[in-house]
Symmetry: D3
Subunit: 194 residues, 6 copies
Amino acid sequence: MSTSPISRYPIPELDTLPDDIRERILGVQEKAGFIPNVFLALAHRPDEFRAFFAYHDALMEKESGLTLAEREMIVVATSSANNCEYCVVAHGAVLRIRAKNATIADRVAINYRKAGLTPRETAMLDFAMKVSQDARNVDESDYEQLHPHGFSDEDIWDIAAITAFFGLSNRMVNFASMRPNDEFYLMGRVPAQR
Amino acid sequence: MSTSPISRYPIPELDTLPDDIRERILGVQEKAGFIPNVFLALAHRPDEFRAFFAYHDALMEKESGLTLAEREMIVVATSSANNCEYCVVAHGAVLRIRAKNATIADRVAINYRKAGLTPRETAMLDFAMKVSQDARNVDESDYEQLHPHGFSDEDIWDIAAITAFFGLSNRMVNFASMRPNDEFYLMGRVPAQR
Amino acid sequence: MSTSPISRYPIPELDTLPDDIRERILGVQEKAGFIPNVFLALAHRPDEFRAFFAYHDALMEKESGLTLAEREMIVVATSSANNCEYCVVAHGAVLRIRAKNATIADRVAINYRKAGLTPRETAMLDFAMKVSQDARNVDESDYEQLHPHGFSDEDIWDIAAITAFFGLSNRMVNFASMRPNDEFYLMGRVPAQR
Amino acid sequence: MSTSPISRYPIPELDTLPDDIRERILGVQEKAGFIPNVFLALAHRPDEFRAFFAYHDALMEKESGLTLAEREMIVVATSSANNCEYCVVAHGAVLRIRAKNATIADRVAINYRKAGLTPRETAMLDFAMKVSQDARNVDESDYEQLHPHGFSDEDIWDIAAITAFFGLSNRMVNFASMRPNDEFYLMGRVPAQR
Amino acid sequence: MSTSPISRYPIPELDTLPDDIRERILGVQEKAGFIPNVFLALAHRPDEFRAFFAYHDALMEKESGLTLAEREMIVVATSSANNCEYCVVAHGAVLRIRAKNATIADRVAINYRKAGLTPRETAMLDFAMKVSQDARNVDESDYEQLHPHGFSDEDIWDIAAITAFFGLSNRMVNFASMRPNDEFYLMGRVPAQR
Amino acid sequence: MSTSPISRYPIPELDTLPDDIRERILGVQEKAGFIPNVFLALAHRPDEFRAFFAYHDALMEKESGLTLAEREMIVVATSSANNCEYCVVAHGAVLRIRAKNATIADRVAINYRKAGLTPRETAMLDFAMKVSQDARNVDESDYEQLHPHGFSDEDIWDIAAITAFFGLSNRMVNFASMRPNDEFYLMGRVPAQR
């Protein structure tokens, strides 16, 4: 239904891409059933593509004291504060699937403080929002808020790093007017979809 | 899936309500198939309930130079800026139905300026956002921006009044932690729903 | 002394108005000695006029744990934050009369935190300002701040609802450039006036 | 009616003050009929008192392309943006007298852009507000806006310097919780006063 | 290396200046080895020049519970928040010399909360920033924060007054595009300089 | 002179690091004469280290229509807006060297709009600041502003990507309280240094 272009910048043909990038894209397509637009849009710059996804994987696919759903919550809440449609829609879809909850993404995106989250989740997002909007004032008092909820120092690094990385992503998406695939909007909302 | 209460304030039993309010609620239920939570939450104050819905109907159900979908766009964009989950979710559902477009509500909510809207729609939402966030600076230059897109002075009043009315609604919802019905999240996203 | 028009929109002749609206206006004129401009400006839209004043009366004229002067303080403080000349001047006049205090309205309008108010009044206005400017973050901690000052949950609804309603009013006044009657500026400032 | 102290800091007895300061204060009292509180509050620091009033006089009492009323408008508008009750009330009184207009001060304080001012006055206050709130971005484009309204480069210095000086004053008043004399509130509002 | 003019306004020739102003300037030149540009730029207005430096001296050269280095820290931190290049560079130089520390000025300018300051220094700058950016909310709680660090009420006046005075200075510098002398950039950074 | 730790998180011993990371660090040390602290602080997370510097090199060391000095200007201006001491000090040093100008970094950091830059540089930094602070509103009008200054679409991507990447860096530095090496403060300020 969206008819605007995928990005303001040119989208390279798949067969013109370096092998490693083409293979990563085909691998994602096989798994998801479609190619998420951000892969196509960033392929415009192969070296940045490689660094972007290496950073992404280092944060989002590793072992962590944060659950996979918690990590997606951070992405959705901070990307909404940065008005990044692609990140809210695509990671909102992943959040619904990870959390097995059809309504959580919209609630986290619009006002996580009214979303009926657990105290641990709220503390996590309060800190993520501080890193996103006011990192200059992060100090030991933030650690004192987070430790009682079971977050270790390494978990806190993860919250901050995910927030910082998606802050980069949010700015690139908005700068280049990248738009999310239509497929994301419905993922995780209806049982039949999975 | 949402388990938090409908409102921080008590929800009256239907049979304890004044007749006109109970009948309005039952009428909505018959039409929508469920009772939108805002009707139950505001029934706590019958006189305010009556004034609220009289105002709502005066703006949202009358003849206007604005289409029904345009009016819902104004609600979604300004309610998102005010972080009002109920209004974004419930009126996002109506917007999808009115616009016959499954993705438009999420796009308008997160960043209407990147949502692929028409110039008329963008100008309308730029003005609505100014009334919402910076009404003190509205002046003739705003009319000069809007007239060329086909908005009459009366249409401009409608944009402003819808924005102002939902600004009231957004504050009441956030103040009382009213939450949207689960039904709204999926409405208008899948053909089978309608 | 003010020579700008009452509103950017047309002011209907009294004898062209629906009976109920004309009678309400004449009733106010009889009581106040003049017709406050907002009645004339909103008469441009009879249905909105009716809903607006029904809402107003439901909040401002009913029984409440808030005194009449406290309600006017809320209007003056939040309307000043929204830069609404009409509301500050007209309700400032009423506040002076209700509080029998010639200087209180100006003090509340410019900086209520330096206005020598009671702790109860300051807590009330702190909360009203949060509803006005940052409703997304209202939570139980606000109730904990207000209860010790004698505000019940119902009183807190009143504070929020008055704030939300005048937020609507402030935006309509600024949008349509409605101006206050000259009569308001002096009301309640000099004994001879009353 | 105001019963809070004149200042959070001690007010020296007049007969303990250095001669030049006591004489200045007595001179003002003779002219105005009362001692404006700021003279008493700043006498706490004689050297700062002398510099403060020397600066004040250098800007407010000299020859200028700005009328006396225009200078007071700058004080009222920028002091209101800085939430300085003393400056808005005291200079609002002077503005009413200088402009021979009983309502102008309240209109300029709450929203000068809706106050029915002349284009020259509005341009002057737009620039003063930029110096007050966003001086980092002042550039040649501001001169291009002001010159056509008859402001010379020296007049523009006056606008900026008055704004900067009262920015200092606003911060001192709010810091020390200085309050305006009750006399100011009514000055210039009724013919009999003058 | 800077080639932009010293000020947007004319710089008077030294021999055209009133004797007291010329002598003050020559005295500074003899002590510093060069004439700081702000002396030349403000000489454009002799009466304001006199009041400005009288105010400056009353705050910066008197006895105080604040050390000379502490006073310069206040100037650097608040002038950076106001984006005032002249004040940050010139007073940064003085701060380096007073504190005998080559890196402190840059640290205080960019983020004093991450600058490794003492708790006393941090509390002092937190308060100065509140006076600079949010004076309307200064209240007794600020005194309670500062007293335990050894600041008396008079010291607190000094913090506020220095902040307020340089707020004036920052606005004049940015308004008139005054630029710092190249000499300041290196002062206090290398032992050989002193 | 700075005695606070390099980072709030542990700094690994060089000989415990993976070979590629240790070699990169030793290579930098050989070239610069010291190990910039960010290398030590990020080595705490080897995978993030690799992605971070791959991204950095992809933007800062490749061919571009932006000069090396222009790229450093972007880093300094946006990092200052984000209050990132490490980035302003370290990249300020590089900017001085690249631009062969001892004062440019301080001028760009505090107020680039008053720094005497060329129109091309100012337009570049205006856009970088928009990406940094308000990416949601980037649109075609920004390209129209930049093209006349000789920036191609690819150059504009570079400006945005450098801004977005250092936005990530700024947040990580402030989150983990990383501090710059003392060596950076003086680099490029005195001829003898180079």
